[in-house]
């Protein structure tokens, strides 16, 4: 699924990464625990989270995540968006809750990550 389709499905605002909207995403992970993201997620993944701080962006940077969806309409500060921009991470903002946003993407065929 392309980032563009994720944004459409969630009626999301694109906060940065406009030139990456055609990026292919192969799976998704929803969590407010960055420790779990770092332990379980591998590449080409979109992270859905209600946690908003610099370390969400750093986590995405370290784990090579392509995109982040902030849920529940909580808009990150400008410096957080800037950090994402510097690291070529696409950031979307949806009014949906974590549960609803995840459900919408799952119903459209975006799988969860495979635990090994």
């Amino acid at each position: 699924m392309k980032v563009r389709e994720i944004a459409e499905a969630l009626n999301a605002e694109i906060l940065c990464g406009f030139d990456g909207l055609d990026t292919e995403i192969s799976c998704a992970f929803g969590s407010d625990l960055m420790s779990d993201v770092l332990a379980f997620v591998k590449g080409k993944t979109v992270l859905l989270t209600g946690l908003i701080n610099q370390q969400v962006i750093r986590t995405a940077e370290m784990a090579d995540l392509s995109a982040i969806v902030f849920v529940r309409g909580k808009k990150p500060e400008e410096d957080i968006i800037r950090l994402a921009q510097e690291n070529n991470i696409i950031v979307l903002l949806t009014r949906d809750t974590l549960y609803s946003a995840s459900g919408k993407l799952y119903a459209r065929g975006l799988a969860g990550i495979q635990l090994d």
């Binding site: 407010d32 610099q54 750093r58 090579d64």
Partner: protein, 143 residues
């Protein structure tokens, strides 16, 4: 390629700058054309070590050593040290504060995840003195 060494300071409780050392290290290794799979694993392990310095220690530094045959990251802090390393290595064991948890950490996953993401991994710690984490990645077979 000659051997290169870099040192980055890590401040305790600085949740804004946390991750900058790991970010610098990741960018440096990318410039050197190191394999992206190796960079990713090392970046994750280094970041976990950096966050631990921020949330559990009194502050410290991260040293990066690049050699033709290996990359070594040494994360050292000034205490308080880990009393029982075997216990700390267990998934789910955490003494993280509420503040660290609010920032998205404290699941007790960091140390085992560092180990999983390194080719070689060592923890040395002395109560009252500090902790030294060594993470090594081989760049050539047998290194």
């Amino acid at each position: 390629m000659e051997q290169m060494k870099y040192t980055f300071n890590v401040e305790k409780d600085d949740f804004v700058l946390a991750g900058q050392a790991s970010s610098n290290i990741k960018k440096l290794l990318r410039q050197l054309g190191i394999d992206s799979g190796i960079i990713r694993r090392l970046a994750i392990a280094t970041y976990e070590a950096e966050i631990n310095i921020v949330i559990h220690s009194l502050g410290g530094c991260i040293e990066l050593e690049i050699d033709p045959s290996y990359i070594r990251v040494i994360a050292a802090d000034r205490g308080p040290g880990i009393e029982d390393i075997d216990l700390a290595m267990q998934e789910g064991y955490s003494t993280a504060t509420d503040k660290a948890r609010e920032m998205g950490f404290g699941a007790g996953m960091g140390l085992p995840n560092m180990k999983r993401n390194s080719d070689r991994f060592y923890v040395r710690s002395e109560k009252g003195k500090g902790t030294v984490i060594t993470i090594e990645m081989a760049l050539k077979a047998g290194a």
